[in-house]
């Protein structure tokens, strides 16, 4: 350090010391306040976490109530058919019960032969 550096150092140190004189708060007080803030913050985070978890549980319960149950697939037992005495066409069941017309989308077949006087050749 040069002389001018030392002079600057001393002058600035004095100026700084005067500006800060008697203003430095007690370390223990500031530290205690900081610890208190940390504790409060942790409590708030925990409370927010609890509320979020409760909200998630309610949402899951709500959604699961409206969720459609999946159909259980069953294998056909051939022995049951061997002893059956009646048969229903799918359309006989689907149309009246479920209003599904399975023939609705079947395309119209184009005649493969020419007509002659109302009869097909």
């Amino acid at each position: 350090m040069t002389d001018i550096d030392n002079e600057l150092h001393d002058a600035l140190r004095n100026g700084q010391a005067m500006a800060e004189a008697g203003r430095i708060p007690d370390f223990d007080t500031v530290w205690a306040r900081a610890e208190c803030t940390v504790v409060h913050r942790r409590r708030r985070v925990r409370a927010a976490g609890g509320i979020a978890a409760a909200a998630a549980l309610v949402a899951v319960a709500f959604v699961s109530q409206f969720r459609q149950t999946e159909h259980e697939w069953q294998f056909v037992n051939p022995d049951d058919f061997a002893s059956s005495t009646s048969w229903l066409a799918p359309s006989d069941v689907l149309l009246p019960k479920h209003r599904i017309d399975i023939y609705e989308e079947i395309p119209v077949l184009i005649e493969s032969t020419d007509e002659d006087g109302g009869t097909l050749l």
Partner: protein, 170 residues
């Protein structure tokens, strides 16, 4: 470093080490906020909170003092950023700016040179304070300010030149 003294979320930081540099840290915080006592206390407290929670994690790459000073510096920057945003919003709304932001308290007592330091451009003032008053090296001071050592040295030289001429005139 006593074992019981070490912070849970910051294994390289002890309470006693922070206590030893408390005065210096507070002085640095004080100059970050135009010597407003309450703001400086808030800044130091917030810095301790950051260290306690581990949000500011010291890994021993620099000295602890440099690290804590940098934490205070960042916190004060964030504070002024928030304040500037608030002021802009207030101006947009057509109301008067807040008194807390407009008022900048002057230190009660100061000598001529200290006054000259306060009149320096912000970066020059910071590096002079860190080097001469807080006993950091230029490299450490540059790290606190978030600039390269080369840039820090340029600010340091310019500031010293201004202050030297001030000293010569007095």
């Amino acid at each position: 470093m006593r074992d019981s003294d070490v912070l849970d979320n910051n294994p390289h930081v002890s309470r006693s080490a922070l206590e030893a540099m408390h005065g210096q840290v507070f002085g640095w915080a004080l100059s970050r906020c135009d010597f407003e006592q309450t703001v400086a206390e808030d800044l130091v407290q917030q810095a301790y909170v950051e260290l306690l929670t581990g949000r500011a994690r010291f890994d021993g790459e620099s000295s602890l003092k440099t690290f804590v000073f940098a934490v205070v510096q960042n916190l004060s920057r964030n504070r002024y950023r928030r304040m500037a945003t608030r002021l802009r919003l207030l101006e947009k709304a057509g109301s008067e700016p807040g008194a807390d932001a407009a008022e900048a308290a002057e230190p009660g007592e100061h000598i001529e040179l200290w006054k000259a330091v306060q009149e320096l451009p912000a970066r020059q003032r910071d590096i002079i304070e860190l080097v001469f008053c807080r006993d950091l090296t230029i490299a450490e001071a540059s790290a606190v300010m978030g600039v390269t050592t080369g840039t820090g040295r340029v600010h340091y030289d310019r500031a010293k030149k201004t202050l030297k001429s001030r000293l010569a005139n007095d």
